[in-house]
Homo-oligomer: 189 residues x 2
DNA sequence: CGCGCGATTGAGTAATTTCAAATCTAGTGG
DNA sequence: CCACTAGATTTGAAATTACTCAATCGCGCG
């Protein structure tokens, strides 16, 4: 894997590339596999080279709520747990066979100490997540199920094709029956 | 204002303190004032020295949805717009007379270039926001109005006392009538 | 005292869920 | 290549939850 594909606009010395590479462990996971369980310590975040995963929360009525999908070039973790060193409350599951690069929090911090540009890269990425989260909260608060679905399809067309409808429903905060009815109504027009 | 109160664990040289201070503009706002309107360019983020503000989104049915409250020692902005240099979609309104420190994006970046520790401070702060947002999304997706309200009161007891119930309702994604009924039910037990 | 904002209450309504059953579909083994 | 099966989606009807709209109440302040 080529580091430049991950850290697109950064110029990295060969030495630094080696250092980073040595800390990114390549992992292969197959569909259905779970790479993080609730209550685990979330040591790692994962860069998706290929494939598709999702993180989700299981509530006390055993209903699943998808927090994040991740496809090629996305990072995924239980970020609350990863950043704050708390126990994971999310589960991360592989939806489509995947190749990942695993990075531990400690290694990440070591990289930050040595390569400020990488700390900046992650700062900007984290800032950008804030934007996505804010937009999602606005959607959750102000949009009907139908509008939410239309937004999702427009925003993540690649993901829409990869995942099951019940995954999308659990991301949008509706039941899969409701999503089915929404889709039916959209198709009619 | 003492910079150490903002950047608690950081050791800053006098020179750096001066540099940062010169970029933090003290602003006084009174209850009811709006410091950011939808469609404005979100040049600034604001540190709350004293007082209370909220950011909110007004949807197409003119309903308001509170995204964030901010009290002493919190930062507030339309972060999607601020970070991504997009037009603001949120409005920021003063709920209780406030003293703020205003920091522009450009000045912030200049500080980051000169003082890596400050960039780190904001990186970690941003990471922590991710955690809050994630928890909020989980709440929105999985909790009833009553549970959401109880969580809010427990998580932000200081804010609960400062703001109107309809502010809280608009944060929780319910109507103020629903919140009133929830509160009534809680009081009964 | 009375105005005005905010909170509460009630009744009817709309949206979504629940639960159960039917249908569709992709992949597997014969 | 077809039949079968398990998983996924769809459908229907009843129940639930929260909303809307209108009216009333409560209280602080001029």
């Amino acid at each position: 894997m080529n580091l430049q594909e991950i850290f697109k606009d950064l110029t990295l010395s060969e030495h630094n590339k080696m250092m980073i590479s040595s800390k990114l462990k390549k992992i292969m996971v197959t569909k259905g596999e779970t790479i993080l369980h609730p209550n685990d310590t979330a040591y790692y975040q994962y860069y998706v080279v290929q494939g598709c995963l999702r993180s989700f929360f299981t509530d006390k009525t055993a209903k699943e709520h998808t927090i994040q999908f991740a496809i090629t070039d996305w990072w995924i973790s239980d970020y609350t747990a990863f950043f704050r060193k708390e126990k994971a409350i999310l589960q991360i599951e592989c939806i489509q066979d995947a190749t990942l690069l695993r990075l531990s929090r400690d290694d990440m911090n070591e990289i930050f100490d040595k390569i400020p540009n990488i700390e900046r890269y992650f700062r900007i990425k984290t800032e950008s997540y804030i934007g996505s989260f804010q937009k999602r909260i606005i959607g959750d608060l102000s949009k009907t199920a139908k509008e939410q679905y239309i937004d999702f399809v427009n925003t993540y067309p690649n993901i829409e094709q990869l995942v099951k409808n019940y995954h999308i429903a659990s991301y949008l905060g509706i039941t899969s029956e409701s999503l089915s009815r929404v889709r039916k109504e959209i198709a009619r027009n």
